[in-house]
């Protein structure tokens, strides 16, 4: 498995973990209030920061672990070639469709329910799903021969 595959798998895990934790916290607060709790800037910023830090850490740890292996290639990380770019564009374009469908569903839900908080959480969920699908699609395309 290449460096980029491992990195994107770890990023997908980080987003899934952070999104699940965020959803659990919101669900707990909403149960206490008996209504969908309004998003606050602090928890939102923490959620984004956790994803960024976990993804960066995953890439750093994978790179340092691979580099210390016996016979490691000198150009372990810098090899982002034409195929990597094509796979990146394919995964990004397909995940864009996932996010768009999620946002459309969220907008429809808002028209029906009229709750801005539900719209916020469903759009955030669509973004998280789009990000996870982008990472997994990259891994999928890496494992196909192009």
């Amino acid at each position: 498995m290449s460096f980029w595959e491992k990195g994107y798998l770890a990023t997908a895990g980080a987003v899934a973990l952070a999104a699940s934790a965020y959803a659990y916290i919101i669900w707990q607060r909403s149960v206490e209030l008996a209504a969908v709790v309004a998003p606050d800037a602090a928890s939102f910023v923490t959620y984004v920061a956790v994803i960024v830090v976990l993804s960066a850490l995953a890439f750093i740890i994978i790179a340092s672990r691979d580099a210390t292996k016996t016979g490691a290639d000198d150009a372990l990380v810098d090899g982002y070639d034409e195929r990597d770019r094509m796979i990146g564009d394919m995964a990004n374009s397909q995940s864009h469709h996932v996010t768009s469908v999620g946002v459309y569903i969220a907008l429809l839900a808002f028209i029906v329910h009229g709750s801005g908080n539900v719209l916020f959480y469903s759009v955030l969920g669509a973004l998280a799903l789009g990000e996870i699908s982008m990472c997994l699609l990259r891994v999928f395309h890496y494992n196909r021969a192009y």
Binding site: A38, P39, D40, A41, F44, M86, G88, D89, M90, N92, S93, S95, H96, H97, T99, S100, V103, Y104, A106, L107, F110, I111, G114, S115, G116, N117, L119, F120, V123, L124, L127, G130
Partner: protein
């Protein structure tokens, strides 16, 4: 000019005109009401139907004038162009959606967030087709 490029030009025009009309209505309604109007489902349905009908008419027109070109499958270069333009417009879409999320976290206005998210969808679509035209012109 390739069929895909002609369609991309047509979609840029259709989405720009319908998007401008929709947001002209939103601004007009805002000035009348004194606040942003909530989304109105029949209005949105008309908007979507208008885009579908206009796009179908354009595609039919281009296909009638050059049927062999319209039925030809996408080649390697055309596929790359589609992936590239969708990937780049996806980044802009993600950025605009995050702007909308922050705006909602600050102002707590659901209608405003709806209109921002809807605008993000329209802008990213226009950008996707615009970039498709650009990449066809550049020969990428």
């Amino acid at each position: 000019m390739a069929f895909q490029e002609k369609m991309a030009w047509a979609m840029v025009g259709i989405l720009t005109v319908t998007g401008a009309l929709y947001y002209a209505w939103v601004f007009w309604a805002t000035t009348q009401l004194g606040h942003l109007p909530p989304p109105i489902l029949p209005f949105l349905v008309v908007y979507v139907v208008l885009i579908i009908v206009a796009a179908a008419l354009m595609a039919a027109g281009f296909a009638i004038t050059n049927p062999s070109e319209a039925n030809a499958p996408l080649d390697e270069r055309e596929r790359l162009i589609q992936f590239k333009s969708a990937a780049q417009s996806g980044r802009v879409f993600g950025f605009l959606i995050v702007v909308g999320l922050i705006d909602f976290a600050v102002f707590q206005n659901g209608n405003r967030f709806f209109h921002i998210a809807f605008a993000a969808l329209i802008i990213s679509q226009i950008l996707e087709y615009g970039l498709t035209v650009l990449f066809y012109r550049r020969g990428t």
